[in-house]
Symmetry: C2
Subunit: 115 residues, 2 copies
DNA sequence: GACTGATGCTATCAAATAGATACTAAGTGC
DNA sequence: GCACTTAGTATCTATTTGATAGCATCAGTC
């Protein structure tokens, strides 16, 4: 086993200074979890996301999507139509993150109000 | 298939008014995800949790644990020793929630800094 | 018997974030 | 010119977070 193959073991979400804390903070968030889940269905534009993520404000939606883009989880594409069309699409990384988030949402839906 | 067996389908985290939104908001949170993960190792007292959840403040730890208790995810036990000993332990519900959260933490640790 | 130490919680203040709403930009159609 | 559409920013307030200090309890020490 080479040292390179063990690289991932250096990441520890319990360590305050570990860079993966940022990612956990980003993903362990209501709106991120919902946005990534919605985008699993394919690229979507802003208005559609706003409608699906019931209760989110314009500002928080913009901020959430920007943070996800900055972390490489999704790609933002502007189509120079009029009025402007903006689409968001998950990257491979985002598709990967979507899996555990889907399980979390699913667990919540199946276990609330049943105990 | 009876109606009762379909009950869980009424929960939809995308619906703003669904009670499961509260649970998603609680679990999709950095400190909740870390606290529940730590408690998977068994009951632990406050100081131990504070040490493991590097960077958390006393106040936020208290608040986080209280919210988790209020939602039935953990049980708080006070042992009348001196100085007082307080232990937190996951309930069955908490143990269930721990699974998807573990996968999320694991995904983060394996996918940060590798793209 | 006052003094220190340990533990867990709350009180207090500043800083950051969320949320609600209004406004801007750019071009189309009337 | 004027209204309409879409996506985003600006603005203001409310809520939450974070850092610290303080409190209560009582055992052990001198």
């Amino acid at each position: 086993m080479t040292e390179l193959s063990e690289d991932y073991q250096r990441n520890d979400v319990y360590a305050a200074m570990c860079p993966c804390r940022d990612m956990l903070d980003l993903l362990a968030n209501k709106w991120s979890a919902l946005a990534i889940g919605a985008l699993e269905d394919g690229p979507q534009r802003t208005g559609e996301l706003k409608r699906r993520l019931e209760g989110i404000s314009t500002k928080v939606l913009s901020q959430t999507l920007k943070k996800l883009e900055d972390h490489g989880l999704l790609i933002r594409t502007i189509y120079p139509e009029v009025p402007a069309r903006v689409e968001y699409e998950l990257t491979q990384l985002g598709l990967g993150a979507a899996q555990p988030l889907k399980q979390l949402r699913s667990w919540v839906e199946h276990n609330v109000g049943t105990h």
